[in-house]
Each structure stands twice: as C-alpha cells, then as structure tokens.
Amino acid sequence: MSYYPGCTLKTKALNFEASAIAAMAALGVNLVELPRWNCCGTVYSMAEDDLAHHIAPVRNLVRVSEQGSGKVVTLCSFCYNTLKRADLLMRNSPEKRDAINAFMDEEIDYQGDVEVVHLLEVLRDDLGWEEIAREVKVPLEGLKVVPYYGCTLTRPQEAAIDSVENPTVLQELLRVLGVTVLDFPLATECCGSFEIVSRPDSVTERAYAILGMALRKGAEAIVVSCPLCAHNLGQQQPKIAEKYGNFPGIPIIYFTQLLALAVGISPELCRFDLNFGEVEALLEKKGLLPQCERSGVGE
C-alpha cells in the first residue's frame, strides 16, 4: 500500500512511523513509502485565489498516480487533511484543477483519481476490528486512556474519517487492543495547532484545558494520531506546571505504538523514549512490557 510519511515523521515523530510500519507488517500490510515525495503543504490553504499552496499536496498526489497506485495512506493527521482536501479541490473545481495542472507542466496531469486515507481508516475498513482482534498477542489490559482526535481527522465534514461531532474509530481500535477507554468530552477540541508559532500562550491554555480534563477523568495517558497535537500537548506540560503548579503531567502516546505493542512488536521498536512523559514506566507498572526486553539494560 502506497504510504506517504510526511516530513515530521522523518524528524520529530520517528516513534510514530517506526511503530506503524512494524505493527502493519505484523498485520500483513506492507506500507511502501513513495520513492519520491515532498512536504504535504502543511496547512490546507483556504484562500479562494491562493492556488500556489495547493501545488505541494497535488504534486504528492501525482507521485502516487505515477506509482500506478490508486490509494495513499498517511499517518500524520495533518498530512491526511491537507492531501485529502487538495484531492477534493482537484475533483470538484475543474477550473482550479486545470490551472494547477497547467502550472505543473513538467508533471502528468492530476485528475483526482487517488484516494487519500488515514491509517485508522485502513485499520477499520480494510482490515476490520475482528481481524485485528485475532492478531492481538498482548492485550493492553488495565491501561486507562482517553482518545484525542484534535481537528484534522474529522474536520471539515468532507474530509472527515468519522463522525464530525462524535467520532468513535479511535475508541473502537483501543478497545480491540484491550485498553480501557474513558469518556472524553474534549476529544475533538483543538489543541491550538500552528498557533504554537505565533501565540504559544494560547496553546498553553488549550493544552491545560485538554490535559486537565484527561487527568480528571482518570486517564493515565492520552492517545493521539497527530505529531502537532503530540507536540503541543506534550511540550506545554512543563509550562503548565510552572504556571499553575500542582500539575502531575500525563504521557502522550501515538495509537500506532499501542497497536504495535498489542500485536507483539518489541517495545524497543516502538521508540517510547521519544514520547513525552514516562511511557515505559507506565507500561511497566501495568505489566505490559515483556519482562526480558528492557531496552538499554544489559549485563
């Protein structure tokens, strides 16, 4: 299956990619990275007349077409959103499609014939929960988490992988893995997103609201599918502790890391060392790390 990683998975979120590739291989799905790709464009441009910022995502869709593949899967929710909406633009706005194709005169024309999907959709729709359940080797029992979708998986409606208001795909997956999923009213609240660049204080406040609610619900970790959410919810915690005091902190985990662990991938491959928070300590406390495989500890 054609796989588009996105820049962040190659730099800041190596744990997201490594765990996903290993877990999917265990489930019999080979994620084949596109041999050539560029930045997704980061944010889908909403300005009516700004076609230049659609070039990057469309060029990636051209790369998928070149592979003779009708479908591309992403892990990063942000990449998913940008690629998906660029594809919709190319399908639904013939004038803009022609203008963009004409500008990219060195590429084959893109006709809107690639299906952009997020890995959660592959798990739910292509594999199905029952099949995944059969592959679970280490049920993650006793681990209490809240699912966090952020914005880009379910907004806007036309790009949503699930219900906009009340998505359930992440909960469904986590339950299959044996995780205890707590009700979380702020699951689709915005983390502040790229405001982290221009208004970091507003992100601190948003993160505080989201993390505080998770802690009050009794969560031991927050499960995410977006490196930017992971960054904002993780890196703001020291600031929150400094500002409000008495903030115990909570680890941030990618859903693929729990999937990998559950299907029997070794914890080293999941790269929990790159997560925010003491994920390994938490998993160890829950008895979810295979005994012999403590990373970095040898005779």
């Binding site: 790709w37 990057a56 990219m104 060195e106």
Partner: protein, 265 residues
C-alpha cells in the same frame, strides 16, 4: 518590461546589426540573437559565451572556467514566441536563432555563517541556520532553472525530511550558479543550504576513508617536507623537466597499476 520596438519581430523587421563584419571562413551561417534586448548576428556554431565575445562583449564577470564547472556564466533565455524560460551555461550552450538572453553571473542569496567544527550531524542544525527552508512550497521552479539538471526541489524536500545524506547526493552536481535562488517562490538560498548539507555529510556522516586519514597523518608527520622543500628550491627549468618527465597513469590501466617510483606512496 517592454520590448524595444526593434526587437519585436526578428523575421519581418530588419533590425540594425551591431557587429558588421564579413563572415569569417568556416564559422557557418550567421543567426540573430538578442543579448539584453539588442540584436546581434553571430555564427550559429558558437556557444553563447563565444557568440557574445564575437559580438564585442568582453567578460570581466560572468565567465570563469569556460568548461562548465565553475557556475559563473549562468544564462537565462527565451525563444521567440515560447513562454518557457530556459537556462544554460553560456560556455556550454550553443546559440539558437532568435534567442533572447541575458547572463545572471550573481544572484543575492544569504549564506548563514557558523562555526562548522561545532555543528553536529543533526538536521536541526540546518533548520536553525536556514529556517527559510520551510518556506518551500514545492513549486519546482528551481529544478526547472537548474542548468546542471540537479533535482533542486527534491534536495530541499530531502532536507525538510531530515535526510542530509540524500540531499548531499542529489545536490552533488551543483556548481553554485545561483539560478535556483533567482526563481524561488519561497526565497530560499537553495545552493548554500545544499553546500552546508554536503559539508555536514562529508565530514560528519559519511564513513571516513581510512587511507585518506593515513596519508594526511603522514603529511603532518613530515614525510613529504624534504621533497617539498627541494621542489621549492628548484629552478624553473628543473621544474619544467620534472613536470614533462612525470609518470602518468595510462588511459587504460589495470586495476592494480602503480608508478615505478613508489617513494611517496
């Protein structure tokens, strides 16, 4: 910019020819080219550089090696009636009839300064020195502008992905002409960024060549000092003789070829 009346249509307007002289023997047909908007008739077999010199230009910039490797003679041109901007090295590109051209010997592009010895091999170093890297929108104008056919957009993409090795490999043929930067929608100094990537790759990522380390150590320990001193004292004739008598590896030589004099191997 408006095109001067005289340059609008070369086929119907009989424009003044700047350099009137008899066609020298053996240069072939004369064809019209437009240098900075002015029409000249030049022999069709010449490179842009030779053609400009034929037309009377004298290069004090915009010319270096004349061999396609120094990057000094970057030239942009268009063919009459074609929207595409074309590029070439003036010393390598043969003139075409009705080409409109100008040289861009230099294009301003900031080069970040750093203490190279303090850098690590982490891509973060490049991100910090060149944050404008992230302004790239993948328009690909840089690749289209590169006279060396370097995949400029792809090496920029590789760097955004933290892949210094790939960026170093993809940019290997770059001759620092600066045309990519002249076209960049994101205002990146691509070639400076790539040069830093290659330096980091060469000194901090690629495995060290052991023989090079040995030779360098032999040099610092004084192995060649006496030889070099002797050279410095030689007369011009002696140097000339030495040079002419030097032993060269034959064009076709076996893998294990070695010179007769192995004193400094």
């Amino acid at each position: 910019m408006s095109v001067p009346e005289e340059n609008k249509d070369s086929s119907t307007v009989e424009a003044p020819v700047a350099k009137k002289k008899g066609v020298p023997e053996g240069v072939g047909k004369l064809i019209p080219v437009y240098v900075m908007g002015k029409r000249y008739e030049v022999p069709e077999t010449l490179t842009i550089m030779k053609a400009m010199e034929y037309a009377g230009f004298k290069f004090i910039r915009g010319c270096g090696c004349r061999g396609g490797i120094c990057g000094a003679c970057a030239t942009v041109y268009r063919r009459a009636g074609d929207y595409r901007l074309r590029v070439g090295l003036a010393c390598q590109t043969v003139v075409e009839p009705n080409m409109y051209l100008t040289q861009i010997p230099f294009y301003p592009a900031n080069r970040a300064s750093c203490d190279f010895s303090q850098l690590t091999s982490s891509p973060e170093e490049i991100f910090k020195l060149y944050p404008e890297l992230f302004r790239c929108i993948a328009c690909n104008l840089c690749t289209k502008a590169c006279p060396m056919d370097v995949e400029v957009m792809d090496y920029i993409a590789a760097l955004k992905q933290g892949n210094i090795a790939r960026a170093a490999t993809l940019s290997f043929n770059c001759i620092q002409c600066g045309l990519c930067a002249s076209r960049c929608m994101g205002e990146l100094p691509q070639y400076h960024i790539a040069q830093l990537a290659r330096r980091i790759y060469g000194s901090k990522i690629a495995p060290q060549a052991e023989h090079l380390v040995e030779v360098a150590a032999a040099g610092s320990s004084g192995k060649y000092d006496a030889y070099l001193e002797a050279l410095m004292k030689m007369s011009e004739e002696e140097l000339r003789r030495l040079y002419q008598e030097r032993e060269m590896e034959p064009e076709i030589a076996p893998e294990d070829w070695v010179p007769n004099n192995k004193e400094y191997l």
